[in-house]
Every structure is written in C-alpha cells, then in structure tokens.
Symmetry: C2
Subunit: 326 residues, 2 copies
Amino acid sequence: MTHEIAVVPGDGIGQEVTPAAVEVLESLDIDFEFVEAEAGDAVKEATGEALPQETYDLAASADATLFGAAGETAADVILPLREAVDSFVNVRPAKAYPGIDAVRPETDLVFLRENTEGVYAGIEDRLTEDVATLTRVTTQSASRRLAEFACDYVEDSEHDGFTIAHKANVMRETDGLFRDTVAEVAEERGVETDEVLMDAFATHVCLDPAQFDVVVCPNLAGDVLSDLAAGLVGGLGLLPSANVGPDRALFEPVHGTAPDIAGDEVANPAAKIISAAMMLDYLGHEEESEAVQAAVETTLAEGPRTPDLGGDASTSDVTNAIIDRL
Amino acid sequence: MTHEIAVVPGDGIGQEVTPAAVEVLESLDIDFEFVEAEAGDAVKEATGEALPQETYDLAASADATLFGAAGETAADVILPLREAVDSFVNVRPAKAYPGIDAVRPETDLVFLRENTEGVYAGIEDRLTEDVATLTRVTTQSASRRLAEFACDYVEDSEHDGFTIAHKANVMRETDGLFRDTVAEVAEERGVETDEVLMDAFATHVCLDPAQFDVVVCPNLAGDVLSDLAAGLVGGLGLLPSANVGPDRALFEPVHGTAPDIAGDEVANPAAKIISAAMMLDYLGHEEESEAVQAAVETTLAEGPRTPDLGGDASTSDVTNAIIDRL
Ligand SMILES: CC(C)[C@H](C(=O)O)[C@@H](O)C(=O)O
Ligand SMILES: CC(C)[C@H](C(=O)O)[C@@H](O)C(=O)O
C-alpha cells in the first residue's frame, strides 16, 4: 500500500527541515508518494492567498500531511489545515532529551489538546466602538471524542491515566462540561484521571514536572501549557506535534519559521523528523517510527549538532547522521 | 487621618498569616482602624453563604481590604470582593528572593492583569445537552483604564516600558482591541511597549525571564502567566498581590489555604506581609512600605524560616523577626 503524503514546507526554515524529514522517510523501506503544495507568507505575497484551495484539498484527501512552518500568516494556514484533516486532537509530547540543556531535565509530558473549539471557534463581534465579544464553545461531543482518544492513548502507551487541566472554577458551564465529560468517559473506560486548575498546573509543572504525565486540556489551555513545557525542556526547537483526525492527520514541528537563520541551511531538523516519526506510528509503521525516534535521540546526544545546540553542523549533516543511524 | 482596613482572613492559613500582617502594621506609627469580617468555606458551612453581604459592604467602603485565602469557595469569595473594590487591575509582582531556591533566580517581573472582564465576565449558557458557550468580553474602556494605570506604574517605578501579552492572532477582535487600545494609550503617553503572544511568552519566560519586566495582559492570561512566574520563583508561597480600584483596593497573597499545614502555626507569613507592604504604598506610606518589604527580604535571607523554606520557625517567630527588623 502506498501512503500519499502531502508535503507543505511553508516559510523560512520550514523549507529546510521539511525536505530533511522527507529524506529520512525516503531512506526507509516503505512506499510513499509525496505531493508538494504551497502555503504561508511567500505564496500569499505572490497570489494573495496564504492557503491556496488546492493545498487545503490535498491535505483533506492525503493520508497524512507534513507541514513545516508559516510566518505572519501562521494562523491563516494552520487553523484551516487542522480543519482540512478534521483534527480533533493535537498531540504534543514535551520531553527533555539527554545531553540537551533544559530548565527542567526531568520533564516528560504529553499534552492532548482539544483541537476544534474553545476560543478557536472564532466567533467574534465588535458590538460597539467600545465592546468586542468572543463566544467560546464547548461541546460534549468534542469533549467525548477527545476523551476516547486519550483513553486509547494511555492504554496503548501504557500510561497510568491522565490529568485534566481546566479552569472550571471560573468557566463553570464550559470547562465544567469539558471536565465532567472527559472524566465520565474515562470512568466508563476504567482509566484513572485526576484534575488540576490550569493556573495551578502552570506553577506546579515548573516546581516538579515529574508529577505530571499525560495532560488533557481545552484548546487554548493546551496551546499555552504545552508552550510552557517547551520552555522547560529548552525551547520549541525539539518539539514535534500531531494533529489527528478520524481518517487523516497533519504533523508539524512546534517551532516557527526562524527568520534569523532561514536560508543558512543550519536549521535543526530534529523536531520535524520526530514529527515524521509520529506520522510513521500513525500510519502503522511502529517499528520504523521507533527507529527514527531513536536515531534522532542518539544524534541529539552524540552529534553532529546544529548551532542552536552549540554545534556547527548543517541541516544536511544532521539529517545524514540520522539516516546513517537507522 | 485614620485608615479603615477591612480584615478578611478567610480559611486555612489565611487565619494565621492575616493576623501576622496586622501585627506588623500595628507596630508602625500609622493610624489604622481594623475591622474584621468573615468569608470562605467555614462561613458558608455555618450560614450557607461564602461571602456575607456585610463583608462585601465592608470591602466596598473601607479604604483597603486585607484578604487571606479561601478554600473550595475561592472563586465565590474573591471575584465578588474584586468587584466590591471596583478593582480594574491586579498587580502581581513575581520576584525571586536571594537565598530562596528558585527555578529561575533571575526572575523579577510585575504582571498588571486586567481584573474585570475577558472570560471572567461570567456570561455562560448551556444551550443544549451538547453545547455550552461562554462570552468573552473586551472593552476599549477597560483596556484604556488598565493602560493608563500601566503607564503611571512604569513612570513611578522608573521602568522603561511594558510588554503586552495577548493572543490576538486567534482572538482577533477581542485581544486585538485590547492590544491596540493599550498600545495606543502608551504611545499617547510616550511609554515604550512591545508585544508577545501569550504562548510564546510561556516558552520564553522559562528560557530567559530577564528579558521581560512589566507585563500587561488580559484577565485569564494574567492569571496563568503570573502563576507560571510563581513557579519560576519557587512557588506561590512568596507572592503578594494588589487588586486596585479607583478609590480602594484589596491585598491578598497569591497562595491558597494550605490545608495540609493549616492550624499548625507554621504558615509562612511573607506573602501576606509583602501584600500589606503593597497596601502601605497604596495608602501613601512609601517609606514604611519599603521598610516592611526590606525587613521581609532580610528575614527570608537570614531567617528565621518556616518549614516550607527548610526552617523550623513558627509563623509568630518569623513575624516577630520582621517586626524587630523594622
Ligand atoms: C499559530 C497559532 C494559531 C497556533 C495556535 O494557537 O494553535 C500555534 O500557536 C500553535 O500552537 O500551533
Ligand atoms: C480563585 C480564582 C477565581 C482566582 C482567579 O482565577 O483569578 C485565582 O486563581 C487568582 O488568580 O486569584
């Protein structure tokens, strides 16, 4: 079976790390058909549209999409692309790697972020000169779908359970519905949960990240708390993510376009290649996924390293070293 | 002139640290009239109401309120009390003290949090079995009032300017209005600003807190980001806060009721006493405010210390040491 993969490098270092991930995938004994498409600032400049319809359609039909990064137009690109793959959960591991400088080296977390609603429902109004409103939406159905995924996830990965992070002491109806629904599904499924207020989580994860493990949260909470965890492991540079839908998924590094180094061929491809490893797992190639993940980890620990990690290797030096270690 | 001060110890260690702060204030040569009132879990248990009307009325008429902490009923107590003093800004310094174990010892931040609207406007609906909504409100007037305060604050404290933290790439109308209004006022006032997305702030403040200084943000962003900063300085235990309104203000430590140690008389009174120092400054007693702040800092550095900081002193040992150093 051939997997059709949409490849959307986007802007900046997206143009460097995405081909690096494709090279790693091509070195495996798996049938891929890669189809490239454009998105981001550059195509907006050229055509007026940050996300051309054909890119949207491609992501909506391919088995999986590899996305790089977008600049100013990030929200205009990534939010519709998540919709294109009908992604209801954003899976964000935040793990400190041996040998990499981290504020909290014991951090090893996975965020399962609701990916369709909350403040991202995007219903805003400027009612008067003085007043603007945004309607935050929470549904039982989306909370339930996320919870089922979370239960599968902890069962498959042999985690003990998960923590629900929310702000239901203030957002009583909406985060209350989220919390209650997720906890109910977990109870039906026999999965253990505990809960924490998102503000308390922010304090406690700094003090002792090892007390948390898998964290399930609403959309914006997941955005902010996973970026916080990124800070604890030493930056966005090494974090992968998966936007998973029922029939397809999109994989992206958490980092941005890094305009300061874009074009210099020294971008660290690790996060994008780990994102590709998540895609391998998603497509059913667990063994190859683990091999790629292990090769990246060995390379992070032993080099070669790009300048962001104190080395002087190029993107392709690192990519080749990872391929050699497979 | 006598200052009328409402004293609302609340639950748990609020009952221990609030009298400690009052003792420190009584040791100064300033005329206070302290009037005590109840709020929290215990009074709810006894009367059915977490915040009795007379406590609300007292806070709404006193010159300032010293609040301790509340347990399960925290939101039912603190949100109406903020309203009682018409507080439009929550001032939250997060500073690492010499001699105290901190994840990021170089942290020295002040959050100026919008204190009336955003998701805290509290407009929620359960539309159907499946759907709940919350209306997030942003007004130009509240943003403007906060911005004026922020400009006064940086001028008085000789800061260079402030950073606006927001999520206007997703909440375009609401956080867009907030950001644009705050930036406009600052420009009119000749105060420098820069801006950062709240998720990016969460990453960058872990990596390098010294790059930030005064941070102005919407209500929930301020809640989460200041609690994150609390984690970086070693916990909520040392953080004070001021809820400032046009004519009165309420001062509270950021910590909770600490049920595990409540009643043992070993609660660390530092955050509550620093909150009282903020009150002294608010009431025009800058010199005494600085003296109390300095006495607390010396005591944190040289002891005696409560068990949370590795010592074996009691609340009153620490309080007496602070008074002795005045
Ligand atoms: C670019 C932005 C819209 C996006 C988000 O808020 O989800 C980003 O921060 C992320 O986390 O992928
Ligand atoms: C108790 C809760 C309602 C409150 C808030 O969210 O503002 C608390 O977290 C705080 O920051 O003072």
